[in-house]
């Protein structure tokens, strides 16, 4: 058995508004794309135990919507939704990203896959570049507050586990 790649994800903050996550998988690109975009797969890996994924719907076509609802052990619900802007199996999707807790902070998520020698690299970029998101990010003193904002974004990004108050 080959050693696994656990713990090898890289998380970067290339600028004030972007979050970039990179991870390699020993699997063909078509299968990685399926696991990222088919509800029956996403519902298996999306939630961090003991949290559960209560709902996972994905309408994978340009203009189609996705919706994910998580529920924590104490019954708190938390949901994410968005609309696909680009769908190019098996290499790329671009979708809006909206966390229910932040109705005015829409982001654009770009999911990109690349296969080389049987290894598929996943790159996910979350960009808060649209007007609403940018307004949210700059409501306070622009850059001054953006790191705080990014922390909130990352919390919400991680779903229920990440949104617990600290």
């Amino acid at each position: 058995m080959t050693p696994n790649r656990h713990g090898s994800a890289r998380i970067e903050f290339p600028n004030e508004l972007d979050v970039l996550i990179t991870r390699e998988f020993d699997a063909p690109i078509a299968l990685v794309f399926d696991v990222l975009t088919k509800p029956e797969h996403v519902s298996k890996w999306g939630a961090t135990p003991p949290d559960q994924m209560k709902e996972c719907s994905i309408d994978l076509r340009v203009g189609g919507n996705y919706h994910q609802v998580f529920v924590t052990e104490d019954g708190t619900e938390c949901s994410f939704r968005g609309t696909y802007l680009e769908v190019e199996p098996p290499t790329r999707t671009v979708e809006t990203w909206l966390f229910e807790g932040w109705p005015d902070a829409e982001a654009v998520e770009t999911m990109q896959l690349h296969e080389s020698d049987g290894v598929t690299t996943l790159t996910m970029r979350l960009a808060f570049r649209d007007k609403a998101g940018r307004d949210h990010m700059t409501r306070f003193d622009g850059q001054q507050a953006s790191f705080d904002q990014m922390e909130d974004i990352l919390r919400s990004l991680l779903g229920p586990t990440g949104t617990s108050p600290s």
Partner: protein
């Protein structure tokens, strides 16, 4: 969860891109204000202002060497930031590790049904 919009914590202090550049400049060792200003093409008053914020949160320390004030990085003070980042790194890793496990499982199932 929101922190006060002051510069009293490390997170706020490094939210400013110029201040991060100053920290980068100090990675290689102790430097005078003038040297930092020249390295980053900033004015001395600008650099001094940022250094004051960085000093207030303890990210840099200053000592006098004759008439020169030298600044150095207090990297231990970046620890809260490391801890915060590693928490998210762990959570993302856990999520993508589960995805990896599912991929391996699906491939094994595929191999079994092929034979």
């Amino acid at each position: 969860m929101a922190r006060s919009p002051t510069t009293s914590d490390v997170f706020n202090a490094i939210a400013e891109v110029r201040r991060r550049e100053i920290l980068d400049a100090l990675m290689t060792g102790e430097k005078a204000v003038g040297t930092i200003a020249a390295d980053l093409s900033l004015s001395q008053p600008q650099v001094s202002k940022h250094l004051r914020v960085l000093s207030e949160v303890g990210l840099v320390r200053c000592r006098a060497d004759g008439r020169c004030r030298l600044y150095r990085l207090e990297s231990a003070r970046l620890r809260p930031l490391h801890e915060w980042l590693s928490k998210y790194e762990q959570a993302w890793n856990a999520r993508l590790d589960r995805m990896d496990d599912l991929l391996q499982e699906l491939q094994q199932q595929g191999e079994r049904s092929d034979t």
